[in-house]
Symmetry: C2
DNA sequence: ATAACAGTTAACAATATGTTAATCATCAAT
DNA sequence: ATTGATGATTAACATATTGTTAACTGTTAT
């Protein structure tokens, strides 16, 4: 390829010193509080502790700090591809919901130079988390609550990235069926309510009488029915509760005909 | 800065060959269809025709094709800064709504190498468009309707970028007060309705009886009142119509308590 | 038995919506 | 100046959806 022909001389422009993909991995963990009680749920984020030394044995940048999983993108893959690959490498988990939400490109965010971060969030359903394997390079991996994470000293500008990720998750939870990525395929209304309340902060959702009356009519979830019999479970309660699943209805809302 | 200390040897990783900021600039053009009639509105996008030669007199890449305005980002600015700067350079307009919506990083999208595009959309209110100046390097600038633009042979992957931008504009128009960026500060309900219908495709909005009854109660717009007198105009109709303006109420909607 | 409890259904007033029609102000044509 | 057309606004009313409180249903623990 002739640079003269193409009218582009790379030496004229300074180019970025690196292009990375970072992933804010969220999950909701349940803690049992007793039999026949819906467990308490809490939103957690997965971070890795940056190694002291690189593979080459040199001192690592931002070593010892907690950081988002991620890494350098290869030219032959997109940032999304890299996010999928790195999430698999770090957690051994495949097939997750991953979404781009921003780019962090301010000079100075990474001491090593002009390094861009293409930021994604990912949702890991709790039931897949058990499959988590130790990362191959034995980095420390841990889950933090939102309260905890903002107390930590985080690497780079990852605090800002996590704040933004949280904002996007909340928004997507309100406006899309994102909740399904936190839930098992078949779930009970109180589980759905629990997931929503863990992330969103809508007083309407807290009112059982409202939520439990409206929810069964939502067009994007449907009762699980087998052989004409509605399927029920008593996973969380003495009384059997109806199971629901998400269908592929894509809800559309607008601020112009909503209620306030 | 010692690379050894920081544990990063740039030569180990291939780095991007360029980092650009591209902006999909949208406006809504009104064409008068007669006195006392609300004008017809149409969504348009601003494109520039890529020059035959670079400033250095060499043949330009993707020359002669229509493309999104944009250009290489300097290390000391962010992609957003660059979008603001380039929009000012191309159109002479400042203070516009500009929003990031995606990154295009697939190898092969730009013949010159591994070149990233940080994509933004921008809204230019029609009344500011008159101030548009000829771009300093005398590139051709033109507005295209959505029908027209997808017939053109566009540079790079700009067709895909424009499709995505359109999707984001539609979504943001439904869910945020983005419409205010297409409107003068004080406007009439039919103008608002016109802007919304130009971008969105919601049958509810078309029903005047519904829209005109609900709109005055929307919490994010308010009647313009001066000295206790509601301000009205007959800009578009024989009958005087109430003026409204957006306030700073931030509407919140959720799929879980919407109506369907 | 019965108290406790999650899940579910009922009841009903208050509010909002879908729909059709009336009213109002103005201009343009007769 | 009467009439008709037009866009903005209000009225009217049946229907549907909320907000709210209460009752009912299985099941378990006492």
């Amino acid at each position: 390829m002739s640079e003269t022909l193409l009218g582009y001389d790379a030496s004229k422009y300074r180019t970025p010193d690196g292009y990375t993909s970072d992933i804010a991995v969220f999950t909701i963990i349940s803690t049992e509080v007793g039999p026949y009680k819906p467990p308490e749920k809490e939103l957690k984020i997965m971070l890795i502790k940056r190694a002291e030394k690189t593979k080459e044995g040199e001192l690592n940048i931002e070593r010892g700090k907690w950081a988002l999983p991620g890494g350098f993108i290869k030219p032959e893959e997109t940032a999304y591809d890299a996010a999928v690959r790195e999430l698999r490498e770090e957690t051994g988990i495949d097939g997750l919901k991953i979404k781009h939400f921003g780019v962090y490109d301010k000079l100075g965010r990474d001491q090593r130079g002009w390094i861009l971060s293409n930021a994604h969030y990912a949702i890991v359903p709790e039931n897949k988390l058990v499959k988590r394997k130790a990362a191959d390079d034995a980095e420390e991996v841990a889950l933090f609550s939102m309260d905890e994470v903002f107390q930590l000293e985080l690497a780079f500008d990852h605090k800002k990235i996590i704040e933004d990720a949280l904002w996007f998750i909340k928004k997507d939870m309100s406006l899309t069926t994102l909740a399904k990525n936190f839930l098992p395929k078949e779930f009970v209304l109180s589980e759905l309510q629990g997931v929503l309340l863990t992330v969103m902060d809508d007083p309407w959702l807290k009112l059982d009488s409202q939520f439990f009356r409206k929810a069964p009519t939502l067009p994007f979830i449907e009762k699980v029915v087998k052989d004409g019999e509605p399927q029920k479970t008593n996973r969380w309660s003495k009384n059997k509760a109806q199971l629901y699943r998400f269908n592929d209805f894509d809800p559309y809302v607008s601020i112009y005909n909503a209620k306030y």
